[in-house]
Amino acid sequence: GGIITQTPKFLIGQEGQKLTLKCQQNFNHDTMYWYRQDSGKGLRLIYYSITENDLQKGDLSEGYDASREKKSSFSLTVTSAQKNEMAVFLCASSTGTGGARDTQYFGPGTRLLVL
């Protein structure tokens, strides 16, 4: 088994601020993902990474940057926080052997609020 850790658990930012969210996994998985969860909109993919130093854009990548510094960690940056934005950001990982057919394991989430 393994675990995914996301920090911080809660993030309060100001409009226009650059904010960074971090994710660590000890599954030894190759592939990692960042999703945004909004009520009534499901999970939308922001970025994913097939392996260390790889980055692939998802449908919601505009306004975000990502970094896969090493196999176990994947960071997401909100480049300019939008006023009144409120969302949950979920990190996930999978073995990577079967592409998107693999089971994804999710972290506990970071809850963002922009004042």
């Binding site: 995914i4 592939t31 009534g40 909109k41 499901g42 999970l43 939308r44 993919l45 994913y48 097939i50 692939q56 998802g58 449908d59 979920l90 592409g99 998107a100 057919r101 089971t103 994804q104 394991y105 999710f106 972290g107 506990p108 989430g109």
Partner: protein
């Protein structure tokens, strides 16, 4: 592009009654792979079941679903709802072409009442 539709945003039913959560999908690829993920309150989403075989029933933890390519559907069912089934359920789609992107539906919030 690919899409997943979950028509019910909220489903409320009484304990002991059958559960059916609808999921239909659209894809240009002939080999879709369908998933149901479940998210209980204050928890992370986790896989409930998945399938890529046409007309074959897949079961896990009392839930079952059958992929029907003819109707592009993958409805989630359970014969008798329990209070602990109250959760947010997501249907999701990928394709065998090797795309890394999983397409999620908007989710169905199931509430089971005593």
């Amino acid at each position: 592009g690919d899409s997943v539709t979950q028509t019910e945003g909220l489903v409320t039913l009484t304990e002991g009654l059958p559960v059916m959560l609808n999921c239909t999908y659209q894809t240009i690829y002939s080999n879709p792979f369908l998933f149901w993920y479940v998210q209980h309150l204050n928890e992370s989403p986790r896989l409930l079941l998945k399938s890529f075989t046409d007309n074959k029933r897949t079961e896990h933890q009392g839930f079952h679903a059958t992929l029907h390519k003819s109707s592009s559907s993958f409805h989630l069912q359970k014969s008798s709802a329990q209070l602990s089934d109250s959760a947010l359920y997501y249907c999701a789609l990928s394709d065998i072409s090797g795309s890394w992107q999983l397409i999620f539906g908007s989710g169905t919030q199931l509430t089971v009442m005593p």
